[in-house]
């Protein structure tokens, strides 16, 4: 390495940077699909023990993924329907949608019923089975009752196919018989509180998370909505669908990236120009940072295949930390004046930079230990970015900064820094320092006392309130469960799964009877287990055992002789098999409830509706083998809580590690170097307490960074001071410059739309602010004089 001349090394590094940039550009833009992941659910960690459960969560989240579900609402029935028709036509005419359903296709009742006829002697409702197995079942009486039901009898299944009504009863229980949305004027319509709601469903021409598909669909909807609202004043449009969430998440992240990225870039630029009073240092600093960010993004996409929005926003904020290395080098150059030699400068800042890099990498590596995709990605992004930025200072910058600086650091900045430094140094020396610490602790204690904690999932996923409101309204009107809690039933084979689901149904039925549950949807209701079908068949067998007797009874009750014969000829029929059920057109919308995941096993999803108390739902699954309630939001919250606790321990561990490094390097001065970051963290916690912010996992993650950054500053000051003894205040000015750039970038995260990043930002804002003010105390006043 040392044999390479600085310019050759710089050339090699430039080639490397260009190659990475090219690769990054190809990964980002060259492959047609964007690797930016707008699906917020994708960054959640796996929380469920059973692999099927994770697959089920995924499937439920995406079952309705690539569709827009729209409800057109108006007080006037005809207006609502006309508007829905027009909306349907306009959306259908737009190439953004693959299919649009407003008006329903022709309907053939016989087509629905026909496939069930061969299975009719295997499908019974619980009530009918119970009645049939009672002693003294009177078939003739049952027939008479059925044939003389008030108002009508032969609707649905024809009387000749089902004289007892058993199949009809069973079909009445099928999910499709029970929707609150009913076809009216060929539209799926519901009436509620004197208002009419009409459903329009638009299927996207691709994934909701695909940028182009998303934009095209939303634009098409906006156009159609505008026209429809113009043509039918007073129309309300309720919307639901992953595409809206994805778009909101993208818009929020884009806004964040713009605000944070742009504001911090501008802020840093102004600051650097002001301090160095020349454009060259500014360009050099940005080049170094850009290399860091480009390498980070490229490495992240290479390693993970995609980049989460969270990572991008975090990456925008990382600018402020990556720029620190070049600032240190630029300060050394400015302070050296005409005596500047580029390689000499590198040697001078190298120990400080390496130490700072080591502590940063340590901090981010701890972050990366969390089994949490989003955090790992952020850690990877940060580590690669910091490393690349630091290496660029060693290998690229010397070639660009061979000439000495024309002007020293802005005297105003240096004077300000010196004033602060003297003040802090004075307070931080001798007995006064103990008094100062005691006072700080006294001020901080009530803040600590007020600290609480919060582990809710909304930290990561907080859909806009208006969108949530509309979705809740649609769920309410269409009668859909909340979807975040469900039962997973699993077993060795399909039969076992269905039997276990039937056991669960018994429990759920008693909840329904106690008024604790509205209903549920599951496969076993549509496809009884072979065992249950056998029971059904067995319940009917005694009746059909004596064909002559039953034939007589049928005729006695009033059925025509040929009808009775045909009915008896249909006995015993076939059981309904899984394959047959899956092949029924009517099962299409429910197939996603059935999970056949190969090696992960076979399972089914049961969706409860009308009960939000998880404890009640959980109790229903208790004691049932192969049945568990999956509650992803709760699992995530539990996980957040667990890692929040770990994080506090990790912070301590990291602190000990850093302290050990400092003891090795600074010996007896180590406690003094360590004190500013430690006090900075303490004061930050107190301030959060005073602000009433409950601590989350993300506050703790930020505190780890505060430790890393704070230690950096102490190191920069401690290592840099001897080289700038002739310029009092200049080293601290460099540290302050680093701190302000960090505040500009990380601090702006506090404006983020995502609570997790907000917490992250505010913690860094406070932590870095406190630490930067306290850091001059890292060297006692005596030391400043003696060196």
């Amino acid at each position: 390495m040392s044999r390479l001349t600085p310019s050759l090394r710089a050339a090699l590094f430039s080639v490397f940077a260009l190659l990475v940039t090219g690769l990054g550009a190809w990964l980002l833009f060259g492959r047609g699909t964007s690797p930016i992941q707008t699906d917020l659910l994708a960054m959640l960690p796996a929380t469920e023990r059973h692999p099927l459960a994770e697959a089920a969560v995924e499937r439920l989240a995406h079952a309705n993924g690539d569709r827009m579900v729209l409800l057109v609402e108006h007080a006037n029935d005809a207006t609502a329907k006309d508007a829905a028709r027009e909306l349907g036509k306009r959306l259908a005419a737009d190439p953004a949608f693959a299919a649009v359903t407003a008006e329903l296709p022709p309907f053939d009742l016989d087509q629905l019923i026909a496939p069930y006829l061969t299975h009719r002697f295997h499908l019974l409702t619980d009530a009918d089975r119970a009645t049939l197995t009672q002693t003294g079942y009177d078939a003739e009486q049952a027939l008479k009752r059925r044939l003389n039901e008030p108002f009508l009898a032969g609707i649905g299944v024809k009387l000749q196919d089902d004289p007892f009504g058993w199949l009809q009863h069973w079909l009445d229980q099928q999910p499709w018989s029970r929707s609150p949305l009913l076809p009216e004027d060929d539209l799926l319509t519901a009436h509620r509180d004197d208002r009419t709601y009409v459903m329009v469903i638009a299927t996207l021409r691709g994934s909701s998370y695909d940028d182009q598909v998303q934009r095209a669909a939303l634009a098409a909807l906006a156009r159609a909505e505008q026209t429809v609202k113009h043509d039918h004043p007073g129309i309300q449009l309720l919307r639901a669908g992953a595409v809206f969430h994805a778009a909101e998440a993208r818009a929020g992240a884009e806004r964040d990236v713009h605000v944070v990225g742009l504001a911090s870039t501008l802020g840093i630029a102004v600051l650097l120009l002001w301090t160095f009073r020349s454009p060259r240092p500014l360009l050099v600093a940005f080049l170094s940072t850009a290399i860091g960010v480009i390498c980070a993004l490229t490495a992240t996409v290479l390693l993970f295949g995609q980049a989460y929005l969270l990572t991008l926003v975090f990456g925008a904020a990382l600018l402020g930390e990556a720029v620190d290395y070049s600032i240190q080098y630029l300060c050394a150059r400015a302070n050296a004046g005409p005596r500047w030699q580029a390689m000499q400068g590198v040697r001078q800042v190298r120990p400080a930079l390496l130490l700072a890099l080591a502590t940063s990498l340590l901090g981010y590596a701890l972050l990366g230990l969390m089994p949490f995709p989003a955090l790992r990605q952020m850690a990877c992004f940060a580590m690669v970015g910091m490393l690349a930025a630091c290496l660029s200072v060693f290998w690229l910058l010397p070639a660009l900064l061979t000439a000495p600086a024309t002007k020293p650091l802005s005297p105003m900045v240096v004077r300000g820094a010196l004033a602060l430094q003297t003040l802090a140094g004075r307070i931080g020396s001798g007995r006064r320092s103990l008094l100062a610490i005691a006072l700080l602790l006294l001020v901080a204690a009530p803040g600590w006392w007020r600290l609480g904690h919060d582990d809710d999932i909304h930290l990561l996923i907080s859909p806009p309130a208006e969108l949530s409101r509309q979705e809740a309204r649609i769920r309410d009107i269409a009668g859909i469960g909340n979807g975040s809690q469900f039962y997973l039933v699993h077993g060795d084979d399909a039969e076992q799964v269905l039997q276990r689901e039937e056991a669960l149904e018994t429990h759920l039925q008693s909840l329904v009877q106690n008024g604790q549950l509205e209903s549920w949807t599951g496969v076993a209701g549509m496809l009884p287990s072979a065992q249950r079908q056998q029971e059904n068949h067995a319940a009917l067998a005694p009746l059909f055992a004596s064909r002559a007797q039953l034939e007589a009874q049928l005729q006695q009750a009033g059925l025509r002789a040929d009808v009775a014969t045909a009915y008896l000829d249909a006995w015993p029929g076939q059981p309904l098999t899984l394959a047959a059920w899956l092949a029924l057109p009517v099962s299409t919308p429910f197939r996603y409830l059935w999970m056949d995941q190969g090696k992960d096993g076979i399972g089914s999803i049961v969706l409860p509706q009308g009960q939000d108390d998880v404890a009640v739902l959980r109790a229903a699954a208790e004691g049932l083998p192969g049945v568990e309630l999956v509650d992803k939001p709760a699992s995530i919250s539990t996980l957040f809580g667990r890692y929040r606790e770990y994080a506090s321990v990790w912070l301590l561990a990291a602190f000990v590690l850093v302290a050990l490094v400092f003891v090795w390097r600074y010996g007896r001065a180590a406690p003094r170097v360590m004190a500013p970051p430690l006090l900075g963290i303490g004061l930050t916690l107190a301030a959060l307490g005073y602000l009433g912010q409950p601590l989350t996992l993300f506050h703790w993650m930020a505190l780890m960074l505060v430790l890393g950054v704070g230690a950096n500053y102490a190191v920069f000051l401690h290592e840099g001071e001897p080289h700038a003894a002739h310029l009092p205040g200049a080293t601290y000015a460099g540290v302050l410059l680093s701190a302000v750039t960090a505040l500009l970038s990380f601090g702006l995260l506090a404006l983020s739309s995502m609570p997790a990043l907000q917490h992250f930002g505010i913690t860094l804002l406070l932590g870095i602010g406190f630490t930067a003010l306290l850091v001059p105390a890292a060297r006692s006043a005596r030391e400043y004089v003696s060196v």
């Binding site: 329903l104 619980d126 029970r178 009216e184 859909i480």
Partner: protein, 229 residues
């Protein structure tokens, strides 16, 4: 299994499943009939007479009658005939008490069907025929003088005079028209007859006799209809 008679509609993934639900059961169709009762005046046809009829019907808060129901169906060798007593209470529902050819009392309240025992206790009929409950719901609404929803689903023609009228309900919508041909109601001060014709060839004729205001309800009847004693 799930209680079908709760008047609620479980298992509704369909709506979100997004698939244009190409099929739905017949009984779901009957939901419309149940819904059949709003927006009077939306119909131009004889709205004056219709309104007068509904006003008159709605004026009787509880009515008793003897009924004879006769049903023809292609599957039947001869018509099925049943006889019994009907008690109708506005806002509560009806008791359909069959005396012949078997004895049974059904309480049809809102969307629920229940079998009433000797003591007047109503046992919900689970897995029973929803169509029955739904037609009864429609009649309850009509007889209560609140036909708004009916007019969304049916063209209603009123014939005759308030002293002797007939209302013809024909489905406005093709889907329903494929199953249900027509429903006719006729009467004078009271409803005197109902005729339900299905496309499959079934026709059910109900005639009422001795129709009168019900007067005081017995404790048993009140219990069966879920009214305070």
């Amino acid at each position: 299994m799930r209680d079908m008679n709760e008047g609620r509609h479980p298992c509704r993934r369909k709506s979100k499943s997004g698939h244009p639900w190409p099929h739905f059961s017949m009984t779901a169709l009957l939901c419309w009939i149940a819904l059949c009762c709003t927006t009077l005046g939306a119909q131009a046809q004889d709205s004056g007479l219709l309104q007068q009829i509904l006003d008159e019907l709605g004026g009787h808060t509880s009515v008793r009658a003897a009924f004879t129901q006769s049903r023809e169906n292609p599957a039947l060798a001869q018509p099925q005939v049943s006889r019994g007593q009907l008690l109708f209470v506005v806002g509560r529902g009806m008791l359909w008490q069959v005396d012949e050819p078997f004895r049974e009392t059904l309480a049809l309240t809102g969307g629920r069907t229940a079998r009433v025992d000797e003591q007047g206790h109503a046992q919900p009929v689970r897995g029973g025929d929803r169509g029955v409950a739904q037609v009864s719901q429609m009649l309850q609404s009509m007889l209560s003088g609140k036909p708004e929803d009916a007019l969304r689903q049916f063209d209603v023609q009123a014939e005759g005079s308030t002293a002797r009228w007939t209302l013809h309900f024909t489905p406005r919508q093709e889907r329903m028209a494929r199953v249900l041909r027509r429903i006719d109601l006729d009467g004078d001060r009271f409803l005197q007859g109902i005729r339900v014709e299905l496309q499959g060839g079934e026709s059910t004729q109900i005639r009422f006799a001795d129709t009168r205001d019900a007067g005081e309800l017995s404790p048993l009847e009140k219990r069966a209809l879920g009214m305070p004693p």
